[in-house]
Symmetry: C2
């Protein structure tokens, strides 16, 4: 079976690395002009002229990013099986649609309002009570197109700063930590859940994910599963879905979802029985899902901007290096390291030791 991947970055690369052992081959369709997957056939198509050509070469289609135009996804879906479905894409591209769906399914979200002017932004900030976070309703990514308002009087500046005609305004959530749950759903409706990961972001970029998340109460765990299960079933979803959540004193509050394999699931390559990448390929191909159990305790450390001392990291007997073969650039995800351990105590010092070889890596701040 030949799988077409829309996008040709590191997620596509890791999907392919997981799919070859299942006898899949891969064709990447790149809209950016700078594919980095580095393996498989790549069709670079900045002007959108070769989509039909791409489709004739593949049996099934999936994607590695949620910013694909929905009309393109729908056009593809009319010709070849596309997983996940275009509706999942549509929901993820529009925060208002996403939060509305969360609400319909009983998944808690921060209180929110829509603002379509500086004035309505100010009014939303007053109604919700500051601080609030204003985000462009579409096209936001990794903290871009966002502003925090400490007072309603900051609305004018925030509106101008974001420069988007429609914003979603969220009441600030007083959370103790950020977590994510990743699950896969097969063609037959079977669902498999990965252990929840605890995530640590710095300057809007994920730096650490620890899995299984420490000190996770069983009822909170069940809550997370019920939320992602509701989404998977409602969307008749096939593939891997990620749900980012805030943990608060009153339970979990959904931040956003991503219709794909996710950076907070990279630990699964060595840290779970079946990686998120393999399970996505299994689901998209119509195979049974693989076991999502953790193998010990894992922490994923992102390599951001600079590679650091890679030879030193390769010498660590508990570290697995995954490079994306990209040139260094500030803020760019260049790779990640998976740290394995048999206990949280062991994991803590191993992570700190590894991080010391990564320049600019923030201090490990997950409470194990």
């Amino acid at each position: 079976m030949r799988i077409g991947v829309l996008g040709a970055g590191q997620l596509g690369r890791m999907l392919a690395l997981a799919g070859y052992p299942l006898a899949k081959s891969f064709v990447f369709y790149d809209l950016s002009g700078s594919p980095s997957a580095g393996l498989g056939e790549v069709i670079v198509d900045r002007d959108g002229d070769y989509l039909d050509d791409f489709l004739t070469r593949v049996d099934r289609v999936t994607y590695e990013f949620e910013h694909l135009p929905v009309d393109v996804a729908e056009k593809i879906a009319a010709l070849k099986p596309v997983h996940p479905c275009p509706r999942a894409l549509q929901v993820c591209q529009n925060r208002e649609a996403e939060k509305t769906l969360f609400g319909e399914l009983g998944i808690p979200t921060p209180q929110w309002r829509i603002a379509d002017s500086a004035d309505s932004l100010r009014q939303a900030a007053e109604e919700l009570g500051c601080p609030v976070v204003a985000k462009s309703n579409t096209e936001g990514y990794d903290g871009k197109g966002q502003a925090v308002l400490r007072a309603p009087s900051e609305a004018e500046a925030a509106w101008t700063g974001i420069g988007h005609p429609r914003l979603i305004v969220e009441k600030f959530v007083d959370f103790s930590r950020e977590v994510s749950i990743i699950a896969a759903r097969g063609e037959d409706g079977e669902v498999a859940y990965y252990p929840i990961a605890e995530n640590s972001h710095h300057e809007g970029i994920l730096r650490y994910s620890v899995a299984p998340a420490p000190k996770m109460a069983a009822d909170v765990d069940d809550q997370a599963k019920s939320y992602i299960r509701a989404l998977l079933n409602e969307l008749n979803y096939v593939g891997v879905l990620t749900l980012e959540l805030f943990q608060t004193a009153d339970g979990l509050v959904a931040n956003e979802m991503a219709p794909r394999v996710h950076n907070s699931g990279h630990w699964t390559i060595e840290g779970a029985m079946t990686s998120q990448f393999e399970n996505h390929i299994r689901a998209v191909s119509g195979h049974p899902l693989g076991n999502t159990d953790a193998r010990g305790y894992s922490c994923m450390i992102n390599i951001i901007g600079e590679h650091g001392d890679l030879d030193a990291i390769m010498r660590l007997p508990y570290a697995h290096l995954h490079l994306y073969n990209k040139a260094e650039r500030p803020g760019r995800k260049l790779g990640h390291v998976n740290i394995l351990a048999d206990s949280y105590d062991e994991l803590r010092w191993r992570v700190k030791n590894c991080a010391s070889f990564l320049p600019g890596c923030p201090e490990f701040d997950v409470d194990l």
Copy 2:
């Protein structure tokens, strides 16, 4: 770094899958006309016209099979770093040279003689005492070009049957089991040993490898390490080397070595901290070696001839499937399954259960 691989079969494929996460890219040089690696750039060169072209594209060269003509390897070595060195290749292509080297290094072998006629074969059988095994001195592979003599009178028929001008005749070894040790040596001379595997062959084809080998005494383990270390250092070897051994009441006896990653090391993909493939790439690239510790108990089951019920295997929560994307053909290696467990008892029933989905798979006969 771009690595050139001489050969384009499943070993090359698995080397590439392990090498991409270390930011390597791959060019395969295929002499067979039927490459199966399925990823990376492949130069098919049945007539040997494109070797120079291949060499201009790569930084370092390795190989996935030991049947490469030594003069080709030497020609390459004059232009690019080749690991392992051509001498290792030369030794492995000639059983007499191999056994002579083993003898020089104090590595026990079966008693052996050279035969260059039916008459000298008969004489060798008489001197050694039957049963003996006669093997073509060069070009033998997976039990081909071999004959067992139960009596010296069978020499004429065996000589004609093998049809090779120079044979090595070995006294039959009364062994309790077949094991193999795999080790990697880095450019700096560092050596890392994998746990010994116990191997079960049927009709000359490896069917099961269990690692770590059960009931392995520490002194026998040390013996195996000292033998492979002697070979690695004598050959100034860089990369992964495999040494196949018979375990007897008097200790270990060397069968043969392979200058490459080996089927009996496929369990390392999920069963060891660093796979044999990654360690070979690390060594060839001049990186530090990775941790060779086992992660629990593993058994590799080869998929031979027919694929069987792959969906059933994918449903097993302890099985990892590795397909080579090849068409079915009797006796052909199509893939393997790695079974993981936390104890030998658990491993036994898991292996038996998985094998039940593989048509023609012989009964699991490793004594755990």
